[in-house]
Symmetry: C2
Subunit: 132 residues, 2 copies
């Protein structure tokens, strides 16, 4: 795909004990550990009103994903037919943006801690929004 | 913010009767019209398994937003104190990615129709994911 493109820039990065995509749970319910979001210093004013207990959506850039994949076997199960990636949660997709609904458990000067996050260490964070 | 950046490319565009940001409802519940997502031809295989009745999250690029805004008055109400944008749904934010939970009401060869979408005509679409 050519045509227009836009630049996204990390507002922070994930710090996690998960260091390897193959070890990351496929769904957050499956024993994902707590993790931190460490903010880019320039983004700190945007995070000033995040509080312990807030339910938020983290948008991440799944930097180890393949962007040329348009169809996958759901959950990597080759016995199931391939599906277009827009019908799946595959990290491999044209714009590999991850959505993670999490609860904030701690707020510190440079970041937040959240519960049950399946993203790996070093994953760029693009945005944080309140859950409606 | 400088540092690393990543390129996102539209997988489609919104076609809507909403043509003006100031006319767009602030929340989708507030009388947003139906709209279409017209796919980039190269992205069509990724959309092949979307079906009428599916509940999906559209990720859009809010192309008319300001990216240098880190704090806003919630819902534009200047009587309320400013908040960091990560605690709000303001379209003005460092990476102006919109999240829209919608139901697919029609599928055609080149796109889909969805119910109640507050994005304006011409908005780039970055991704579509199933609602968990």
């Amino acid at each position: 795909m050519t045509d227009p493109c836009y630049e996204v820039r990390p507002i922070g990065w994930i710090s996690s004990v998960l260091t390897d995509r193959s070890a990351a749970p496929r769904q957050p319910e499956e024993n994902a550990p707590a993790a931190r979001v460490v903010f880019h210093p320039a983004a700190l004013p945007a995070a000033a009103d995040l509080r312990v207990g807030d339910d938020v959506v983290l948008l991440t850039w799944l930097h180890q994903s393949r962007r040329d994949v348009l169809s996958v076997h759901p959950r990597g199960d080759t016995s199931r037919p391939q599906q277009g990636v827009f019908s799946t949660r595959s990290p491999d997709r044209p714009n590999p943006i991850g959505l993670h609904t999490v609860t904030i458990t701690e707020v510190s000067a440079d970041g937040i801690t959240v519960r049950h996050l399946e993203a790996i260490d070093g994953t760029p964070v693009l945005d944080i929004k309140p859950v409606r």
